[in-house]
């Protein structure tokens, strides 16, 4: 797909590459500085989750168009251990790694749409979208 570009997350510096990509795409689409910061932060969270919990995976940034609306979609895919209890990870303050536990619920608040699909053993698939207003 022409409107999609991906970054493989293998080491910590790939997180920087992923959010740089996201920032550039967000700029191209005409997002303001606040939304740019939201998008890059969301990418940073998702990429870090991949790096911390799944070891490796991929972040894709898509430009999407829907009936005159333009938007940016972050697709984070990994084939790591998956998430046992989705409701639990979407609660603020829940963390298995001693972190703040604000990552996933935070991403949901930073973006407009948030879809998570995960099965223990098969990995996690997250799609988060921000629409241009």
């Amino acid at each position: 797909m022409e409107n999609q570009s991906c970054v493989k997350i293998i080491n910590e510096w790939d997180i920087v590459a992923a959010r740089q990509l996201g920032r550039n795409v967000a700029k191209e689409l005409g997002f303001g500085t606040v939304d740019q910061a939201r998008i890059t932060t969301a990418i940073s969270e998702l990429a870090r989750n991949i790096y911390l919990y799944a070891g490796q995976g991929q972040i894709c940034i898509e430009k999407i168009y829907d009936g005159g609306k333009a938007g940016l979609r972050i697709v984070a895919v990994d084939s790591g251990p998956g998430i046992n209890d989705l409701r639990q990870v979407m609660e603020d303050g829940y963390s298995t790694s001693g972190g703040l536990g604000a990552g996933l619920p935070g991403v949901k608040r930073l973006m407009d749409e948030f879809l998570i699909d995960s099965n223990p053993g098969t990995g996690t698939d997250i799609k988060a979208t921000k629409w241009l207003r």
């Binding site: 606040v34 932060t41 940073s44 969270e45 870090r48 603020d92 972190g99 703040l100 604000a102 619920p105």
Partner: protein
């Protein structure tokens, strides 16, 4: 090295070179042609061909030192490695085709010549790749050291007040350094207030926030107060969206306001001197 191949290359040096230049120019991508002028391109190419030929004539040691000089030059010019390896391949192909045309390579000795040719080309390609990666590795390690040097300085600005400006991405390694520098510095400078300035941090996500909170907690344990300054408006919004609790921090939007607040905390203030000109 088979003397027939050697003789052929030496005798047809110029025509091989011209052939090679044409073929390479066609294949060269923009990255190569854009950064260098035609003159430099031809000059370097000639050097490249001379180098390949000198490999046949000169001793191994001499060649290695020449090759390292050359690869350094190429890296400086910014030519991609693929261009150089492809250049070697093209060179081999041109020589081989030329020999075929001249009737040196026949149906019978074809396999033998190919085998010998390969035995000569492969070590050379390996050498080039090795040189290249060694040069890159050195560059990367130097940059790593340079990056570490500008990592996390702690600057005493007033009696009891120190500032730690953070610039750039904070990863696990840097977070560790920040913590160490902060604690040793606070004790060394007998700081009462430490200002952490995050104006230069592009993204504040939960991990960065977590590290800063931990650092502030540790600073509190050694008896100083931590203040977070340089929070840009967009960062403030993302922090709120993420739901990060920074209530235990005093926060200011600029370093200037932070210094004023810190002076106040240590019962001092900046005053205008009356009568000063």
């Amino acid at each position: 090295m088979n003397s027939t191949i050697l003789n052929f290359i030496q005798n047809n040096k110029d025509s091989i070179f011209n052939h090679w230049l044409e073929a390479t120019k066609e294949n060269a991508d923009e990255r190569v042609t854009k950064v260098v002028s035609d003159q430099v391109f031809i000059g370097t190419s000639r050097e490249f061909i001379d180098l390949i030929i000198s490999n046949i004539k000169s001793s191994n040691e001499e060649f290695t030192s020449k090759l390292s000089d050359f690869s350094e030059k190429i890296v400086r010019l910014g030519w991609p490695l693929s261009f150089v390896t492809k250049g070697l391949q093209t060179f081999g192909k041109i020589v081989f085709e030329g020999m075929q045309e001249a009737g040196i390579v026949t149906q019978e000795n074809q396999m033998k010549v190919i085998y010998e040719f390969d035995g000569w080309m492969t070590p050379m390609v390996n050498e080039v790749v090795n040189m290249y990666s060694a040069t890159w590795e050195r560059t990367v390690s130097l940059q790593k050291i340079a990056l570490q040097e500008l990592s996390a300085p702690l600057i005493p600005v007033f009696e009891g007040i120190t500032v730690m400006p953070l610039v750039g991405t904070i990863d696990t390694e840097r977070a560790k350094q920040i913590m160490e520098n902060l604690l040793t510095g606070v004790v060394k400078h007998r700081s009462e207030v430490v200002l952490i300035d995050i104006t230069g941090v592009p993204v504040v996500d939960t991990m960065v926030a977590h590290h800063i909170i931990q650092a502030a907690d540790a600073v509190r344990l050694v008896g100083a107060k931590c203040m977070l300054v340089g929070i840009r408006p967009e960062i403030a919004q993302t922090i709120v969206n993420l739901g990060i609790d920074l209530n235990q921090f005093t926060t200011k939007n600029t370093l200037k306001k932070g210094v004023e607040a810190a002076l106040e905390l240590t019962s001092r203030k900046i005053v205008n001197v009356e009568g000063a000109e």
